[in-house]
Amino acid sequence: MKHLLKNCMIIDPEVQNNGPVDILIVNETIEKIGAGIADLKMDNVIDMQGYIVAPGFIDMHVHLREPGFEHKETIESGTLAAANGGFTAVCCMPNTNPSIDDQSLVKWIIQKGKESNNGIVDVFPIGTITKAREGKELSLMMELADAGAVAFSDDGSSVQNSELLRRAMEYSSMSNKPIIQHAEDPFLGKGGAMNEGFESTRLGISPIPSITESSVIARDLIIAGYTNAAYHAAHISCRESVELIKNTKNKMQKISCEVTPHHFTLTDEAVRNFDTNTKMNPPLRTKDDIIALKEGLRDGIIDVIATDHAPHSFDEKEVEFLFAPFGIVGLETAIGLSITELVVTGYLTLMQLVEKFSVNPRKILHLPQVTIREGELANLTIISPETEWIVQVDKFKSQSKNSPFNNYKLKGKPIGIFNHGRIYLSS
């Protein structure tokens, strides 16, 4: 198969941008990059005028829900959502049933990923830190890593026991895989459902203060410094967390963190109509937190944008706010929200956006970098940064539609992906 992508604007930190070029891909490999490649004898010619082509995006925080919760999402539907959202790879969190604390399950998920949608989206499982995510005993981290787990996390729960966390950091360093912490104090904000502040006071909803997250991050950073561990804070949501990480990052190179598009887009004011699609954990915070998160991205304190894609069925969310499960889907709005909120507003250049979505997560996970050069495997995300579009959740490829962004007008749209010799065009 010969694919010719014409007039591509390559945005890749490893590649000098000399204006639009054509990219010739033969089967899986980039054969030639240059101006005016003749489109003779091509199987597929696509004009990319106005689009950028970047090293494939990876979402390092996704809940694919399989096994155990196939009524919310499957590996098949989740990877299709990823492709439609412009991602060539996802890392799936282990809070499945059973949880991913066993090497056979790691292998099974990787295999299932290869069989889903012709394997166009790579699936990298994340193994648990503790057995069954119970926070009691270390999981079989070495075996999990050997089977293909790219990181360890008890996401959904925080590792509470400081001794266990310390040992997890020490033990995981042997396999060179980071610990990804969902930072949440089990007592602060227990039973809460939204950010603590004026809005929770007004709505009478029991609150989750920002210190629920930041106090755990503070402790974790101290332990990570002591053990010299690779520590990654998942979905940070508040100013204190950004500042804590800022203050330690120059001393500790193996510290990293991520933010979700919803945390830098929406404030807790979005909860006012008790829409259960504004309920997530950590919760939506305040305007001031959003500024800190955006500045943190700009200043390189926050390394990664990840979605925390958390599908739930319609009926599960169609209940009283208090009873609704936490989480929203994110794969199919991530690029649009990021360009609208970060690039259009001048916080990030497109190049920096590519770093947050492609380069940095691979660095943190020790995955081989993807670049757009002749001779390399073609692993590409194609984006139209100028296209304005309206989010319609019923068009999502994800099995679940639990997004607060229905009818949102966004600028910047995924056009498609190329991976393993196949192209997928977003709808």
Partner: protein
């Protein structure tokens, strides 16, 4: 005259005109309640369901009495909150009841926003009889009515709500209603039981009961939930009583003209001394009577709204 909204979900956003209309209408029903035959045919043929997911005997009886005095057909449905988590959802429960052709639902529910949720999933007129620690509009309306009855006006009065503000279903509705009607509002309680940034609602905050008593024309004393003790909001009932209880000697020392209200049921000699509850400062029993009149007014205005 008719109300702007189809439902009564809360007092936040309800206009002064609407509150005035409800209070004025309640006054006419208050007269009905003084008659030997306390029944009017206003809601004849209407079916009202009292959907209570938390036991609140007083509120339910008050609503039921109001409904019957307006000649409505009344159905009571009580269930446990835990049944909602396990069994049938609120949406299914409500839709099943609505399928039997009803007109209005009065709901008490433990979850904030439950009344709004209900209004989105069924077509009946909804009256919120308390949704968690969010709103309890008819309680606030009867409080407003009772204040107006006592002072002939609400505007400019200093009203202080005392106790567990964080977990109260009464406080927010009172704050919104009092604010709309032009009163000055304060709260008083342990710092652990005053929700964050409450001052942004235009509320003054006292941590000393003496200061609150001195400032206020009206004290609305909330029931302190004995069962909350396990969550370490305050060390003991004894200490609470010592520092926050409203007692007769404090009133007599500091502010003899104060009016005492309480939404009930009272923990006598815990948040409020018994002699004060039964004494000349108290309008607690008037509140109970006014509650029926105010609920009749709300049911009437919403039930006959075109």
């Amino acid at each position: 005259m008719s109300l702007e909204n189809r439902h009564l979900l809360g007092l936040e956003g309800v206009s002064k005109n609407d509150i005035q209309l409800i209070l004025d209408t309640a006054e006419t029903f208050r007269e009905v309640l003084e008659r030997p035959i306390k029944k009017v045919p206003t809601l004849q043929g209407k079916t009202i369901v009292n959907l209570f997911f938390e036991s609140s005997t007083r509120t339910r009886i008050s609503f039921e009495l109001a409904e019957r005095r307006l000649s409505a057909d009344v159905v009571n449905f009580s269930a446990d909150m835990s049944s909602l988590k396990k069994g049938e959802t609120l949406k299914d429960t409500a839709r099943n009841i609505e399928a039997m052709k009803i007109d209005m639902v009065v709901m008490r529910h433990g979850a904030p926003g439950a009344a709004l949720f209900l209004s989105k999933v069924i077509n009946s007129v909804i009256i919120n009889a308390g949704d968690g620690s969010h709103e309890h509009p008819t309680q606030a309306l009867l409080d407003l009515y009772s204040i107006r009855e006592k002072y002939n006006h609400i505007e400019g009065l200093n009203v202080c709500i005392v106790g567990d503000i964080s977990h109260s279903r009464v406080a927010l509705s009172n704050i919104h209603g009092l604010k709309t009607m032009g009163a000055n509002i304060a709260v008083c309680g342990p710092a652990t039981l005053i929700p964050r940034e409450l001052d942004r609602l235009g509320v003054k905050i006292f941590n000393r009961i003496d200061e609150a008593i001195e400032w206020a024309n009206v004290l609305n004393v909330l029931r302190i939930q004995l069962e909350r003790q396990d969550k370490s909001f305050f060390p003991s009932l004894g200490e609470y009583r010592k520092y926050f209880a409203v007692t007769k000697d404090k009133i007599q020392k500091i502010n003899k003209n104060i009016t005492i209200m309480h939404p009930g049921p009272i923990n006598r000699d815990v948040e409020l001394s018994a002699d004060l509850a039964d004494g000349e400062h108290s309008i607690i029993l008037q509140q109970v009577l006014n509650g029926v009149a105010v609920r009749m007014a709300v049911l009437y205005l919403l039930g006959t709204r075109s």
